[in-house]
């Protein structure tokens, strides 16, 4: 029922969403942590900048990224001088675009969760010999788990549904940058509605079960507060 192209789109999509989410968590966690602790006066500037990519229509953001990553753009030119492959129309390029686009969905919930942890548990851990890094991993992160969960779900789902940026800087190349969302879009555009419905159904079911699993799991890890 699923064509080879569909299958490869599914694989690319899952790869992209997983990788993007992981990178977002890796980048977003220290950033959110720092923002939840700092008393830096101009923090709000940074917060606004992080939220900014959100307001651009994805295709337009994609366009600017394309220009930036293209051989004439600043990043592309830099890559060229370094002798690296240009990033546009590559999977790597997609990942970069998705990361930028989904950043606020990950950073904001994490920052809120870290703020809700409060100072006390970390102070207690400090008096129990835990170094800052140690208490970050053994106290702050476990207590902020609900935030990580929200961040991952929003980041992952948003990347799966993401479309404009990916279409623009990915170039819709099957097996490399054609993701499921674009494949469905193509079918709709080509008026192959049956195929589009079918693919949407697959995507929805797949996502639904993944979300189910994640949410069911999540209930185990919620920390109760009195």
């Amino acid at each position: 029922m699923l064509t080879e192209a569909d299958l490869s789109a599914i694989v690319v999509t899952l790869k992209l969403a997983t990788l993007t989410t992981l990178i977002l968590l890796l980048l977003g966690t220290p950033l959110a942590w720092w923002m939840s602790r700092t008393r830096w006066r101009f923090k709000f500037l940074l917060e606004a900048v992080i939220a900014l990519p959100l307001v651009l229509p994805p295709t337009v953001l994609g366009f600017y990224l394309l220009v930036a990553l293209g051989p004439k753009g600043p990043v592309g030119a830099l890559m060229e001088t370094l002798g690296a492959r240009p990033l546009a129309f590559t999977f790597t390029g997609l990942v970069i675009g998705s990361v930028i686009y989904s950043m606020p969905f990950v950073v904001q919930p994490l920052q809120d969760a870290f703020t809700a942890v409060g100072r006390r548990p970390l102070e207690v851990a400090a008096t129990l010999r835990a170094s800052p890094l140690d208490r970050f991993f053994t106290i702050a992160i476990p207590l902020a788990l609900p935030g990580f969960f929200t961040a991952s779900v929003l980041g992952f789902a948003h990347t799966i549904g993401e479309f404009g940026v990916v279409l623009m800087i990915g170039g819709n190349i099957p097996g490399e940058t054609q993701v499921l969302s674009i494949a469905i879009y193509d079918h709709v555009e080509a008026m192959e509605y049956a195929h589009a419905h079918w693919l949407s159904g697959v995507l929805l079911l797949l996502s639904f079960f993944m979300l189910l699993a994640v949410y069911a799991l999540n209930h185990r890890f919620r920390v109760l507060r009195p």
Binding site: F63, L66, G70, L167, M168, G171, D186, V188, M191
Partner: protein, 219 residues
């Protein structure tokens, strides 16, 4: 051009059968592809929905010189899925007994431009302005109508005419005189054997027959 996707798919299938080469088709709006080609997209050939973009690329030295040609002429129809809603003179336009008329965005899509010209020619462009809903491309205009949200609209003949099928609903085959011909042009972007072969194939009699079956005129 996404409106040509059905025809192009069939073409490439025939080509692959004949030559055992593999063709990868990437559909998208002409504008997007133009921007991507300018920024280094790894495409071999470009089938646009208009003349404008291939010409621009030629000026910018991004195409193989002399490879530009018109592969199909688009035809515009005024279509409604309702039987008898559109008659052969399209009087429905003047009676304005509809809420929404779907067209493609005239700024973006040649079919939209053509729709605008038709309406202007009939002196309705101003009066119908409030009832126009505009799709990003001709595909969306078609979806507006097909889903019943717009009662009728200007679409590509290729969209309503499927090979070996009768057209559903009612339509007005817009006289060519009312709009500038929609020339769809293609260019080669790289000098490759296979790409050349494909471009040659598209111009073969076998291909022209297919293109015609999909509702286009041929140059």
């Amino acid at each position: 051009a996404s409106n040509f996707s059905g025809a192009l798919t069939t073409l490439s299938e025939h080509f692959e059968e004949n030559t055992s080469h593999k063709v990868t088709l990437i559909f998208g709006s002409t504008g997007k592809h133009y921007a991507q080609i300018k920024n280094g997209a790894p495409f071999d050939a470009f089938f646009a929905a208009d003349i404008h973009r291939p010409e621009l690329l030629e000026k910018e030295d991004l195409v193989l010189p002399g490879s530009r040609f018109t592969y199909a002429l688009g035809k515009v129809v005024l279509w409604s899925p309702k039987k008898g809603f559109v008659d052969s003179k399209a009087r429905v336009l003047n009676r304005a007994e509809f809420r929404h008329l779907a067209i493609a965005n005239p700024n973006l899509a040649p079919y939209g431009k053509a729709a605008q010209e038709v309406l202007e020619a009939r002196g309705l462009w101003k009066s119908l302005r409030d009832r126009l809903v505009r799709g990003e491309n001709i595909g969306q205009a078609f979806q507006f109508i097909k889903s019943g949200n717009a009662e009728l609209g200007f679409v590509a003949y290729a969209q309503v005419k499927r090979p070996n099928q009768r057209i559903e609903g009612s339509f007005w085959d817009v006289p060519q005189a009312l709009y500038t011909p929609i020339e769809q042009q293609a260019v080669l972007l790289v000098d490759s054997e296979v790409a050349r072969a494909f471009m040659l194939f598209v111009r073969s009699d076998e291909a022209l027959k297919i293109i015609r079956e999909y509702g286009y005129d041929i140059p």
